[in-house]
Amino acid sequence: MEIILFFGSFLAGLIGATSGLGGGVILMPLMVLFFGIDTLHAIGASLMGVIVTSLGASVHFLKKDLVDIRTTALLETATVPGAIIGAFLATIVHEGILLVIFGLILLFSVIQSKITAKDDGHAKYPKHKLWGWIMMLLAGLFSGLLGIGSGAFKVLAMDRVMKIPFRISTATSSFMIGVTAAASASAFYHMGYISPKIVTPLIPGVLLGSLVGAKLVTTVNLNALRWIFTVVIVLLSAELIGEGIERMLS
């Protein structure tokens, strides 16, 4: 099972990196739907994958001087408590509801990734800090609740609300998701929902997949592949919503 999980997580990392959605949104449903891993253990393992992916991506963005560290200092005061609250909610919310919410978040992430952002390099930013902070609290909540990085929410908050240039928003989001995931992963770790047996093949797989995917994005024209992945993700979200409703009714 470990070898299959390694290849599955490699695929998740690859799809996440090439589609721009991150590995967490693929990893969690992969573990629950195809490996039959229970939801809370899947969330815990996914959070570990998110931290590692963030660490790896941050190296590249920091070297390119694209991360707004000053803004992260402000916004992490929202994402961290949000993530801890989300981790708490994950243990009390019915798993069927979790899967339905995840399916809807996945759909939202796909739609959001298709919206082309206008990169205004001359705008004075950040603006609307309070609204950005509130959105970050929600992003942190979803991160802890579902085991994802909430990159789509964070980019949306920084790009659309705080008027931070898109490239910097993406890089800063990638930098922040690790800290957010660490907050909720700590809670899951102490509750015993991070299984070494699952994490061991998962982390190298998702890291390798996201590194290969990131390399492919910069060297190969991936338009056709991106559309295939989009269809796969939409089908996955439908499957999740269906599975969630089934579990709620059973």
């Binding site: 570990m48 001087d65 995931a181 907050a183 700590s186 509750m191 070494p196």
Partner: protein, 80 residues
């Protein structure tokens, strides 16, 4: 600021390599601990940086975040 970002990127790289190495030699629990700890230490570095930069508001934001992360990492924020 550039030197701080270079320092952070190098620190992350070393941490990532150390985590994978620990995993490969069988110290799974230790590697899990290191993965969770790395972002916490990162916030600590940010806090020290902002203190040194004499940016008190930013230093307090990072300090708040750091305290929450430490409490969560040590299991003091209990969720049952």
């Amino acid at each position: 600021m550039k030197y701080f970002e270079t320092f952070l990127s190098n620190y992350f790289l070393i941490s990532l390599v150390a985590t994978i190495a620990l995993m490969l030699i069988g110290h799974i629990e230790l590697s899990i601990f290191l993965i969770i700890l790395t972002p916490v230490i990162r916030v600590l570095f940010c806090h020290i940086f902002f203190v040194c930069q004499k940016a008190p508001l930013l230093a307090s934001y990072t300090f708040f975040t750091l305290i929450l992360l430490i409490l969560s990492s040590l299991g003091f924020i209990k969720i049952s």
